[in-house]
Structures are given as structure tokens and as C-alpha cells.
């Protein structure tokens, strides 16, 4: 047992992890991004951990270790504090957020084309960033052998291909940042020397709620998200609970997760098994597996990202790209110039009409999501 010293504090009425448990986690609003645990562990406070998809006190004895700083409550993407400030910071006024430009594009790399979803853009952009030495590592998610998405840190473009494609259940993408030192060691081993752990540069790929958590943390400049230089958001209609999803998949297709090669949602749920047999199942049938927090979410297009990506509204193997920040604009421009991706040019309408129609589509889809939530 560690000795418990009386705490001295300057704080008054700050909400702490206990409140987070009561208000968010126990009411099923937690999106399992892992921000609270990543922060707390990176500070070596030894208080909370991720158990499956739920943040929890490590043990009853660790409850007293809580420093009661309140940061976990503040940075949680599902709580109210800081929302006004990040909305201001990222110029968000409505359900679509600030849109600097909309383009459609696809990768020029044959290998990525094969493996990726739609236009394979996220993979291509990360490849570019690794090629040009703009990042040391990237956080993505990857399937394990049971098709359970797990967060993964990759250190070079060769590791990237495994993580191409969309995953439909959640992985706690912020969580791996909790141990920056081991990330630094891997970078030194696989890439190059770094002289300061705070100089690590990473790209982050995540769902709207995860991007929101990253931006909340970045607003406060706190560890460990200060190493994230690029935030790539994904369009997200809803996310499935892993266990429930594969129970339903089993029921509808009689396939085990180990025998499934690819899943894709367009109008319906398409499931391809390893013998290349394609099942088409109505999306509605999976409604019971949707994670509860998605019912409260009002984001579809990842408003807080530098660039958001999605398949909705894209044709001919392209991906839709919503550029939101100056940094995102620069990156897309450079990637096009470097020939990593090809930009789609609409033929039937002018570029402005095309953009307006796409933005309109995003707005309708977002409103559908909000309506469905209610």
C-alpha cells in the first residue's frame, strides 16, 4: 500500500474522473477514444486504465491516487467544457463545420488502389508524409486476426498497407499515445535519431469524436497530443459494437470474423468472405449493434480535422476530401503536385455547382444522422 498524503489544492469544484464515470461512462456516452487514459497515463499518475472499451480506475486502491486535476473531464469529447473554444478555433458554426474546399481524388498507386477503401487517399497521404519526412509516425487502426480493430502506431510506409480500408467498429486511437517514450525508442530504432521526445511528429487518423478529443487536448497544449501534427478525420455515420456486430454478421451470413476478407457500407452492408463470396445485407438489420454514443453524435464529416475523408458522394473509385485548415490545403496541393493522387474533374457540371451539390449531400446526410439519433 502506498501512503496516502492529504492533498493540497487550489481548485474549487472541479469535475474529476468520478464525475466522468457518472455522467459519461455509466450512461453509455463514452466513445472509447482513450483520451482520458492516454493523458493520465502519460503523466504516470497510475490511476485509470482502459478495460476493453471502458475507462476505469485501475483498482479501488488507485482511486486515492487521483490528483483531481480535472483534465480528463475537460478533454473528454463528450463533455461540454471547451466545446465553445474549439468551435471558435476551428470556425465551426453549423453541422458541417468550416469548409475551405471540397475535392474528389484517387490514389495513383496501384497497390493502395487494391487494398484501400474508395480512393485510398488516407493511405496515400500518409505515404507522402513518410516519403517527405514530414512525420515520424502515424496512428491508425488495424484489424487483428478476428477482425477486431486495434489502434496501431506505424513508423514507415511499408507498414501502412495493412491498415488500409475502413473499419466499422471502434478502436481507441488516442490510447497508444500514453507511452511516448516507447514511441520515441521505436522511431530511433526504425527511422532516425531524435534529440527531444517533444519533437516527435505524428499524423492521426480517427473518427469525428476522436478528432474532437485531440483538438480539445491540443487547445490546452497538453501531453501527449502535442506530438500530433496532422489530424485526418473520417466520415462516420455510426460505429458498431464489435461483439454485437459479429453476432449479427454470423446470424445473417453464417460467417465467422476470421473468414471475412472485407466489409463495406454503401447503401447496404457488403461483406466479402475469403472465398470472394459477397453478401449483401440491409443496413437496418445491424441497428442493434450501433454503439450507444453514436446516437448522441451530431457529426458526420469530422469537423475538427485538418482534412476529412469519406466515400459518400464520390464516383469512379474516388474519395471525397473536405479541406478544413490551411495546413490541410497545403498538404493536398503538394500531394497533387507530387503526383501521388489524381484530382477528379466533374464533366457534367461546373466545379462550383459540383461542390455545392456535394456540400448539400453532406448536409443532408448529417441531418439524417442527427434525425436518426433523436
Amino acid at each position: 500500500m502506498t501512503e496516502v498524503k492529504p492533498k493540497k489544492t487550489v481548485l474549487k469544484d472541479v469535475k474529476i474522473f468520478k464525475n466522468l464515470e457518472d455522467e459519461i461512462i455509466k450512461t453509455n456516452k463514452c466513445c472509447a477514444c482513450g483520451a482520458c487514459v492516454a493523458y493520465c497515463s502519460s503523466q504516470s499518475f497510475d490511476v485509470i486504465k482502459m478495460e476493453g472499451y471502458t475507462p476505469k480506475f485501475i483498482a479501488d486502491a488507485n482511486v486515492d491516487n487521483c490528483k483531481e486535476c480535472g483534465l480528463c473531464y475537460y478533454i473528454c469529447p463528450q463533455t461540454e467544457p471547451l466545446m465553445r473554444q474549439i468551435n471558435e478555433e476551428y470556425r465551426i458554426k453549423d453541422e458541417l463545420g468550416y469548409i475551405q474546399d471540397v475535392v474528389a481524388a484517387k490514389t495513383t498507386d496501384e497497390k493502395i488502389k487494391e487494398m484501400g477503401q474508395d480512393g485510398g487517399l488516407v493511405t496515400t497521404l500518409l505515404t507522402y508524409l513518410f516519403d517527405k519526412n514530414k512525420i515520424d509516425a502515424a496512428i491508425v487502426s488495424e484489424y487483428d486476426e478476428n477482425l477486431r480493430p486495434i489502434p496501431k502506431i506505424i513508423y514507415n510506409k511499408e507498414e501502412l498497407l495493412k491498415s488500409s480500408g475502413t473499419r466499422y467498429s471502434i478502436s481507441s486511437n488516442i490510447l497508444p499515445l500514453k507511452d511516448l517514450y516507447s514511441i520515441a525508442e521505436e522511431i530511433v530504432e526504425k527511422q532516425h535519431q531524435i534529440y527531444d521526445i517533444n519533437q516527435i511528429r505524428m499524423a492521426f487518423v480517427g473518427t469525428p469524436c476522436q478528432c474532437r478529443a485531440v483538438r480539445k487536448m491540443q487547445l490546452l497544449d497538453i501531453s501527449p497530443t502535442h506530438v500530433i501534427k496532422y489530424v485526418f478525420g473520417l466520415f462516420c455515420m455510426e460505429n458498431f459494437d464489435y461483439e454485437k456486430l459479429f453476432q449479427l454478421v454470423k446470424k445473417e451470413t453464417n460467417e465467422d470474423p476470421t473468414n471475412i476478407a472485407k466489409m463495406n457500407i454503401k447503401k447496404n452492408f457488403f461483406i466479402t468472405n475469403k472465398e470472394n463470396k459477397v453478401y449483401e445485407v440491409e443496413l437496418k438489420k445491424f441497428d442493434d449493434a450501433v454503439r450507444n454514443h453514436c446516437h448522441e453524435c451530431d457529426e458526420f464529416t469530422s469537423r475538427f480535422a485538418d482534412i476529412s475523408f469519406g466515400g459518400s458522394g464520390a464516383v469512379q473509385q474516388n474519395s471525397m476530401v473536405v479541406i478544413r485548415t490551411e495546413k490541410g490545403q497545403d498538404l493536398i496541393r503538394n500531394v497533387i503536385i507530387a503526383g501521388y493522387i489524381n484530382k477528379f474533374t466533374p464533366k457534367k457540371s461546373t466545379i462550383d455547382e459540383w461542390k455545392a451539390s456535394k456540400i448539400d449531400l453532406f448536409r443532408r446526410m448529417t441531418n439524417n444522422k442527427i434525425k436518426k439519433s433523436k
Binding site: 487550489v10 472541479v14 503523466q43
Partner: protein, 437 residues
């Protein structure tokens, strides 16, 4: 030295770099009360950042540190860090000076400088000016371990408690109970100030220009001279093992580019005066770290006027493998390994040539301290057309206002020995006013 008597009038010195410190020590030793006002949280200025000084290659901080602590504990010198002169009134012999003191949020006399606050502070990524912004720190910060005063400070622009009333971890973790969030910015009014010395020093061209054509900030392996100074310094971010920022490899070929932003219509029209010397100094230090190093100095004219300076350059060429190339730089690109490729015109042959190196160091121009405009307004002193403090050529430490003196790089670009000499000159002129000379 014995105090020569007690005086009721004091002197305010603005800027606590080597010039301000020297003037303060001179006056203090004469028994004159000095208020040393510094904008930064610690004193020492630019000299504290340097690795070595030319032409003797002495360790810079080793010379300076005793002066810093002497300043701190001198009975006649009062230090005001994180402070700015806000208003003055009166005239020579009887100025009133209002000093705005920003809150440190750490009790200076209680703090033990242990760093527990910095360790627990969750904030990361605030760049440290002292290390030429090459390393980052938390919101509880100190510029360098030997900083004077030896106390941490909390950056109010980032602190989570001061902005959002959360966190408070440093307060919890401080064993000495030195954190004090109740501190407020305050104005200190000083009466009966006999004279004022302006020693605000310098900033550098990279503070105002992006230096795009040299690829600075675009390419990791293009650094400024001040950055190299920190990188090569044993107490700097790389602990004295010079390596490239792009891949951590040790450079074997370094190019030093002279007259960056100086002597040009696009930047400053004047010569920065010390770059030829400090470049050779840096090349020599780099060679001492790695005896296989080749250095290339791209210069327009060698301007090394001073006792022993030419000899110093010759020593560089003969003993330290430095090649001096009289040339004009066109632009810099990088190859696939991020090695900078310099395109230049060789003045000897009038040919356009290219040279690939591992690291490029830009000898950036000295510019007047960015705070001088506001300060000149407050003090009512005139600036010359380069924005340095205007002085009479035959009275080089006197400004346009009687009783306000200047020294060091606030007046024009100069090296450390000259700054020290001028500081003593300014101190003597100020003492004249106090002693009724």
C-alpha cells in the same frame, strides 16, 4: 571594491544582457543604487546563449555566470525580471520611472529551482527562446538550469489554472509551497532616478524575416548561427553532439553563408559587423567536435577589423580546414537525403557553381531589439534611420535626451568586448550625474 559613499539617487538600467549587467556592476560598485529592468524571466541576454566567444574561444557562460550571480546578490543592485519600463517623467537628475512587473506566479525567494512543477505540468510544446526555440518545455519553466534569478516561472498565457481554473498540479506537487497563483501584475514607481541607461541589445533577422530563399524553416538542415550555437553547446538540446535536425546524423560538410539579410536592399542596409568572426569561431568549434569536418564560408567581403582578428581567420583556414569562397548565393535546394545544395556565383571565376553539403548555417543580421520602438516612445529618445538608438559620433553613449545613456547593441551591432567597454562608459556618464559631476 569598496563603496565610495551612499547616494540617494538611483540609476535605472533597461536590459540585463552583458552590457546592462556590466553597467549595473560598475555603478553598484561605486555605491550607486541600480534598478536593473529585464523583460525576460532571467538575466544574461544573448551572451548566455552563446557556446564560446571569439577570438579567445572562452566558454561564454563561464565568463558570464559569475557576473550574473554577482548582480543578483549585489547590495546596490535591485533586479526586476519580467518587467518593462512603462512611463517616465521628470528630467535629468530627477526622473520618475514606472516599471510594470509581470507576475511570475512563483515566489522567487521560496522556489528551490528543483523542477518538480515543470515535470508534473501537463502542458508541452512551449518553445524555449533560450534554446533558439529548438526545444520545448511545459508552462512551468526556466530558461536554463543556471538562470538567475534561480526560480521557475509559470507562463500565464498557457497555464490551465490561470485560464480555465483546472489542473493546479504544480501547486500540489511543489514541496516548497512556492507556487502562488494570487500574484498579480503590478506597477512599481521609482522616484529620484538620476539617470537611465538603455541596453536593450539585439534581435536577429530570423525574428522578422522568413529567409525563404535560403530554405530556412523549409528544410531541417538549414539553421541560423544562433541555432548552431545552441546545437553545438554542451548544455544545449543535443548536449554538444552536433547532429542534423532531419536525421540525427553528424554533419561532415558544413556551409556557412555570410551576410544573410544584411548589406542588401531587401533586408538591412548595414553590415552586421560580427558575423565574419563568429562564423569562423563556429567553424573552429565544429572542427574541434569532429576533426574530419570540412567547412565552407561563402562571403562577400571579409570584414574582420580588430586586434588579432585576421590572425584568427588565417588560423581557421590553415588549421581548421575552413575554405573561404568569395561568392554570392543564388538559392538553396535539397536532394533526396535532405542534403542542402547551394547554388552560387564564384566571384573568383564568375562561374555559377553548386555545392552539396550536410548542413547550412546562416549568419543572420543583427537587428535592433523589437521592443526598442515602444521604449523609444516611452523615453522620448530618437532612433536613427536603422532604428538603433541615435547617438552623437563623438559622444557615443549619449542619446538625444539628457540623462539617458545607451550602450551595446542597442546603439549598433558590436561584439562583446566593445559592449562591455561601452557599458562602462555609459555607467561613468550616469555616475557623473549622480555624483554631481
Amino acid at each position: 571594491m569598496k563603496n565610495l559613499g551612499v547616494n540617494s539617487k538611483s540609476v535605472v538600467i533597461i536590459g540585463a544582457g552583458i552590457a546592462g549587467i556590466q553597467a549595473a556592476l560598475d555603478l553598484g560598485d561605486m555605491g550607486i543604487q541600480v534598478h536593473l529592468v529585464e523583460k525576460q524571466p532571467c538575466i544574461g541576454g544573448r551572451m548566455a546563449q552563446l557556446d564560446k566567444t571569439f577570438p579567445t574561444l572562452d566558454c561564454s557562460i563561464c565568463i558570464l555566470a559569475p557576473k550574473l550571480s554577482e548582480c543578483y546578490r549585489h547590495s546596490n543592485i535591485t533586479l526586476h525580471t519580467l518587467s518593462e519600463v512603462q512611463k517616465i517623467g521628470g528630467a535629468v537628475g530627477d526622473f520618475t520611472v514606472d516599471v510594470l512587473k509581470h507576475a511570475r506566479y512563483v515566489k522567487e525567494d521560496v522556489c528551490t529551482n528543483c523542477g518538480d512543477c515543470a515535470e508534473i505540468c501537463p502542458i508541452r510544446g512551449i518553445t524555449n527562446f533560450f534554446d533558439a526555440n529548438l526545444v520545448t518545455q511545459s508552462a512551468a519553466q526556466t530558461a536554463f538550469p543556471a538562470a538567475v534569478p534561480a526560480a521557475y516561472r509559470i507562463d500565464p498565457s498557457k497555464c490551465l489554472y490561470l485560464n480555465y481554473e483546472i489542473c493546479g498540479l504544480c501547486y500540489q506537487n511543489c514541496g516548497a509551497d512556492a507556487i502562488d497563483f494570487t500574484q498579480k501584475d503590478s506597477v512599481l514607481s521609482l522616484d529620484n532616478v538620476g539617470a537611465i541607461i538603455v541596453a536593450t541589445g539585439l534581435d536577429l533577422a530570423e525574428d522578422i524575416h522568413t529567409l525563404n530563399i535560403y530554405g530556412y524553416q523549409k528544410y531541417d538542415n538549414v539553421v541560423t548561427a544562433m541555432e548552431l550555437e545552441r546545437l553545438i553547446c554542451a548544455s544545449g538540446p543535443q548536449a554538444g553532439h552536433l547532429s542534423r535536425l532531419s536525421d540525427g546524423k553528424h554533419p561532415h560538410k558544413i556551409a556557412f553563408l555570410q551576410c544573410i539579410d544584411s548589406r542588401t536592399q531587401r533586408g538591412q542596409l548595414y553590415c552586421s559587423s560580427i558575423c565574419c568572426m563568429y562564423t569562423t569561431k563556429e567553424a573552429i568549434i565544429a572542427y574541434e567536435h569532429n576533426n574530419e569536418l570540412e567547412s565552407y564560408v561563402f562571403y562577400i567581403d571579409m570584414r574582420a577589423g580588430g586586434k588579432g582578428f585576421q590572425k584568427f581567420l588565417r588560423r581557421g583556414a590553415e588549421e581548421y580546414n575552413i575554405k573561404y569562397i568569395k561568392s554570392k548565393i543564388s538559392h538553396i535546394q535539397v536532394d533526396e537525403n535532405e542534403n542542402p545544395i547551394i547554388t552560387y556565383e564564384d566571384y573568383e571565376t564568375s562561374e555559377i557553381k553548386q555545392l552539396t553539403v550536410d548542413l547550412v548555417v546562416l549568419a543572420t543580421c543583427i537587428i535592433p531589439s523589437r521592443g526598442i520602438y515602444k521604449l523609444a516612445d516611452v523615453l522620448g529618445i530618437e532612433l536613427n534611420h536603422y532604428d538603433y538608438v541615435k547617438t552623437n559620433p563623438f559622444l557615443p553613449v549619449e542619446t538625444s535626451v539628457e540623462g539617458i545613456y545607451t550602450c551595446g547593441c542597442a546603439r549598433e551591432p558590436m561584439d562583446i568586448p566593445r559592449s562591455v567597454a561601452e557599458a562602462s562608459g555609459a555607467a561613468a556618464r550616469a555616475a557623473e550625474v549622480i555624483k554631481g559631476g
